[in-house]
């Protein structure tokens, strides 16, 4: 080990010299306290280091030790249900070491080394070993089977010994290869390097979120990427929580990057009590949390995103569909800016470093649907929150993010103010996955594509009419146009708006989503006809069925969606009666 010494301390950035043979992004232990850091720049003998912990009272000429390996995460059974800080230190373990407050210089094993897992071998002695060979399985939780697979760092050879089925800790040798290497259930992977796979695939399967505005209007595919930008208080975190709770991914990696401590506590207290509708198990049994809150060291915030996505890729390689929630990528970009400022780099826009777009691109490109080394199908879907200053989407982080995501869920201040949640704006949002997903929806409801385009059309017309109304008032419009306003209002209140507190409404299954829309659009169609045959709008809007339709989202349970046909019948009857009454008047 080569020992150097500190020559300068400037906040979380340290300069050291005398580190022999140090490489970029090598991990270093800095000072007497042994704080973890990473080399980010080398110039001659001088290394620039960012450290991940508080360095109060650190002195010049204290020792620096280079570990000659990049920052890596430990991967193995026991990740699920854990909560880590940005450099994968287990927070509950740190709590037992230093109490409720985090002290610098603490270390803890990321995975429980004492716990025994039941290992079932998948190969036998003499079998060939290569990257992508699964050598055993461990049942990690009731819903997650952990496949132990040789990663691409493992050289091809044969298995000399294989441990028999039984209970082992993660440090026990399970396979010994013919070239003398020993393999356990745990492996390491450098966080800044994407894990290898065979090839990327085009994706035709949606990530069903249970949020109507997303699934129908702006759907996201498994392996896709989406950005959720919004000013403060518009519900970014609430939207991410809702997706994390109800989306049909197998595993959720939730990265709290520079956000509030209480939000992570909320996930920690709420998720174990919620039941995953698909597996019937607690939601915490499919969740990994990375919590680097806003008051924790800023350099660790920068790396937390990579820690999270590496864990996600690890499960993807077992053939799972993983969804990553990154809340918030703006805080990550700000960490980049802060470190860049300390390095006295030339700033580009708004003080952000010029390499911000490159880093964003690299991050979002780590998502995707892939054929794994084992030739299975797995995916990582990335949903990143963006917190634009002043809610202004023209700022650099939002603008650059837009270039690398294909789904944009813009949160709207006015909707949030009216407590219309999720406050996803139908004017500014878009999804480029719509075309790819038609095949999937055809199996559920062939009318999906028509429904969504008609809905978008009505909302678009309403927007134009609203501009006119703002000038001359609604009374000046003819009934056909006022009907558009009425229907748009029903779509907003009865479909787009969704309560995360209502037990029935919080998760909406795809068949119910299309049913609700079918009901509202049937109403619209019949109302159009009724107006043509002379019924006044006033009578149509007074129909009791209208209010019933708006309430249908919370009165009709997901399992009872077939009862919806009766509602459509009810709409027809109501209009038939209205028509008859109108006929009587005109006669």
């Amino acid at each position: 080990m080569s020992a150097g010494s500190i020559t300068r301390i400037s906040g979380p950035v340290i300069y050291a010299q005398g580190l022999e043979d140090a490489g970029l992004y090598d991990v270093v232990k800095v000072g007497k306290a042994g704080l973890i850091g990473e080399i980010i720049k080398l110039k001659g003998d001088l290394a620039t280091i960012q450290i991940y912990e508080d360095n109060t009272l650190m002195r010049v000429s204290e020792p620096v030790e280079c570990l000659h390996r990049p920052l890596s995460v430990a991967l193995g059974p026991g990740l699920i249900g854990s909560i880590y800080d940005g450099i994968q230190r287990p927070l509950p373990v740190l709590k037992s070491l230093s109490g409720a407050f985090l002290a610098p210089g603490l270390a803890g094993e990321p995975l429980d080394t004492q716990k025994k897992w039941h290992f079932v071998p998948a190969i036998k002695e003499g079998d060939p070993i290569a990257p992508g060979t699964a050598f055993g399985i461990i049942k990690e939780t009731d819903s997650i089977v952990h496949r132990l697979i040789f990663d691409s760092l493992v050289p091809a050879c044969t298995a000399a010994t294989v441990a028999p089925e039984g209970d082992y800790t993660i440090s026990a040798t399970l396979v010994k290869s013919s070239d003398g290497k020993e393999y356990t259930a745990m492996s390491y992977w450098p966080v800044r390097t994407p894990r290898t796979f065979k090839e990327k695939q085009v994706t035709h399967e949606p990530l069903v979120t249970g949020l109507r505005v997303i699934d129908v209007l702006f759907p996201i595919a498994k392996g896709g990427s989406a950005a959720v930008p919004g000013g403060f208080g518009t519900g970014k975190t609430m939207t991410q929580h809702a997706i994390a709770k109800w989306c049909d991914a197998d595993i959720i990696v939730y990265i709290g990057c520079g956000e509030r401590g209480n939000e992570m506590t909320e996930v920690l207290t709420e998720f174990p009590t919620l039941i995953d509708p698909r597996t019937g198990r607690s939601l915490m049994e499919r969740t990994v949390l990375i919590a680097n809150t806003s008051n924790m060291p800023v350099a660790a915030r920068e790396v937390s995103i990579y820690t999270g996505i590496t864990i996600a890729e690890y499960y993807r390689d077992m053939g799972y569909h993983v969804a990553v929630m990154a809340d918030s990528t703006s805080r990550w970009a700000e960490a980049l800016r802060e470190l860049s400022g300390r390095l006295e780099e030339m700033p580009a826009e708004e003080g952000f470093p010029a390499y911000l777009p490159t880093r964003l691109a690299e991050f979002y490109e780590r998502g995707g649907m892939v054929t794994t080394l084992e030739s299975k199908k797995g995916s990582v879907t990335i949903i990143g929150a963006v917190s634009p200053p002043g809610g202004d989407f023209s700022e650099p982080v939002t603008q650059h993010t837009k270039r690398f995501v294909r789904c944009f869920w813009a949160l709207d201040r006015d909707l949030a103010n009216a407590r219309h949640y999720p406050a996803i704006s139908w004017n500014d949002s878009y999804s480029e996955y719509t075309e790819d997903l038609i095949a999937y929806w055809d199996a559920i409801d062939p009318s999906w594509d028509t429904l969504r385009s008609r809905t978008m059309e009505i909302l678009k017309k309403e927007r134009r009419l609203a501009d006119i109304v703002r000038l001359i008032g609604p009374d000046a419009l003819p009934d056909e146009q006022r009907l558009i306003l009425l229907t748009a209002d029903m779509i907003k209140n009865g479909f787009l708006q969704q309560s995360s507190f209502d037990k029935v409404d919080m998760y909406c299954a795809p068949p119910k989503q299309t049913l609700l829309l079918t009901c509202i659009l049937t109403f619209h169609e019949l109302a159009e006809n009724a107006i043509k045959s002379g019924s006044p709008l006033l009578k149509i809007s007074a129909l009791p069925i209208r209010e019933k339709l708006i309430r249908l989202k919370s009165s009709l349970e997901n399992e009872k969606v077939q009862e919806g046909q009766a509602v459509i019948q009810e709409i027809r009857t109501a209009f038939a009666r209205l028509g008859a009454a109108q006929g009587a008047v005109s006669a």
């Binding site: 650190m58 000429s61 806003s294």
Partner: protein, 465 residues
């Protein structure tokens, strides 16, 4: 080294002093600088290299000379002496008593920067605090352990509102020990006096710890004031098991001081000249609110900030809003119409409200009622915009009803007396009374069975107004 003074400095530039490198000086270490007249000033080490040490002073810099200065390195970060005796006392921003009474007798020194709370050791805040103010209790509920800032503007009654909250705040589920920590940063003497008087009148002065860095104290001292105050608060909450309400005013002055120092250090500025780390820096204050496991006490923060030019997208309120758990926004228009408290209905928000209200905590109808009031009031705003263009007479009957609702909502629900203390039941009933102005079919955010149970029926005479 401690007890050893080094003679001379290399450069003095604003609040930053550069001294020659010395062995064994630590980052963030506290520094005492004695000038040619013998006056001591405190500062901290912000950058060390093998050649030089940069020190940021906490006090003003007049009279510092190159050859006449002596520097002592104190081998510890800036600390605050905590002990039972701090309650009822007044300190300056650096934590030195300024009320004329003897210093605190304790050997317990705490680093004022604190340590971040381990997220897995936090307890999610759920206890409802009744402030007796309808706009807060009903619409933007305050929760114990929350950080809920007041976004105000110059000339708006934020101080009166904060004093009213301090006076009336109580938890419904029984009483326990409480304390108030007050941090005044760059405020005028009269404002500080107003708070002292108001604490005295409501009989809580003996439970207040005050930290005053008034407008005439050096601006750099304001960077330390909230940290000292929060150190006191953490001691009272997590060791003395008290429920601490921290009032910090005015955060804008704090941020200005931060900008001043950042500029003096030639850092790359981000928006409006504020440093790029303004978010992280503010977070290191606001995140010190909360509740932790195994501890009765809690810290609830009520920071007050004046929005420069009433602009909510200015970096200070903007970044604050991203960190805090909601905000109470005061609106000049309401204030000018004589409505107190002028709490803006729509932009105000309490993020922790959702888990602290409802059956067993406030009342079963609270959540839906609040959602409906917000939604209706949002519509009122759009109707008003329309009425401003086409005139009220041209509005449809439905819109006219909403307009009437809006006016009464502001005059009867939002507005109340400075000494009026409404119980949560009164607030909620008042909310229902407001909703009864609207046709029942408009109340789509409320389940029918709650409407059935709580909506006052049209038989009441005032519904005909």
């Amino acid at each position: 080294m401690r007890g050893l003074e080094y003679h001379g400095i290399l450069r003095a530039d604003g609040p930053i002093v550069i001294a020659e490198h010395r062995e064994n000086v630590g980052f963030s270490e506290l520094v005492s600088l004695r000038d040619r007249t013998g006056e001591d000033r405190l500062g901290k080490v912000v950058d060390i290299s093998e050649q030089a040490i940069a020190v940021q002073l906490f006090s003003e810099n007049t009279g510092i000379s190159i050859d006449g200065s002596w520097i002592e390195y104190l081998e510890k970060p800036l600390t605050f002496r905590v002990g039972d005796g701090i309650v009822g006392r007044i300190f300056n921003g650096l934590g030195e008593p300024i009320d004329g009474y003897p210093p605190i007798m304790s050997s317990d020194l705490r680093d004022i920067n604190g340590s971040p709370i381990n997220p897995s050791a936090r307890v999610y805040p759920r206890d409802f605090i009744q402030t007796g103010i309808s706009a807060i209790d009903g619409m933007n509920t305050l929760i114990r352990g929350q950080k809920l800032p007041i976004f105000s503007g110059n000339g708006l009654p934020h101080n009166r509102l904060a004093a009213q909250i301090v006076r009336q705040a109580k938890v419904l589920s029984g009483e326990s020990q409480f304390a108030i920590v007050f941090a005044g940063m760059g405020i005028k003497y009269d404002v500080a006096r107003f708070f002292i008087d108001s604490f005295e009148k409501s009989g809580v002065l003996a439970r207040v710890v005050m930290f005053l860095s008034l407008a005439d104290s050096p601006s750099i001292e304001r960077l330390v004031t909230p940290r000292t105050a929060l150190t006191a608060a953490e001691y009272l909450a997590y060791e003395k098991n008290m429920h601490v309400l921290v009032v910090m005013t005015d955060m804008t002055n704090y941020c200005e001081a931060l900008r001043e120092v950042s500029a003096a250090r030639n850092e790359v500025p981000s928006r409006k000249g504020y440093p790029g780390y303004l978010y992280s820096d503010l977070a290191s204050l606001y995140e010190r609110a909360g509740k932790i496991e195994g501890c009765e006490g809690s810290i609830t923060q009520l920071p007050i900030l004046s929005m420069p030019n009433d602009d909510i997208s200015h970096p200070i309120p903007d970044l604050t809003g991203y960190i805090t758990e909601g905000q109470i926004v005061l609106e000049r228009d309401l204030s000018q119409r004589g409505i107190y408290p002028p709490i803006a209905g729509l932009p105000s928000l309490s993020r922790l409200m959702k888990d602290g209200i409802g059956e067993g905590m406030t009342r079963e109808d609270h959540r839906d009622l609040a959602a409906q009031l917000f939604s209706a009031y949002a519509y009122v705003r759009s109707v008003r915009d329309l009425a401003a263009i086409i005139g009220e007479e041209e509005l449809s009957d439905r819109d006219k009803v909403f307009l009437g609702f809006g006016d009464r909502f502001e005059r009867e629900f939002l507005a109340q007396g400075e000494f009026e203390n409404r119980s949560i039941e009164q607030t909620l009933d008042l909310g229902w009374k407001m909703l009864s102005i609207l046709p029942e079919s408009e109340l789509v955010r409320i389940p029918p069975k709650l409407i059935e149970k709580y909506l006052p029926r049209a038989a009441e005479p005032e519904a005909k107004e």
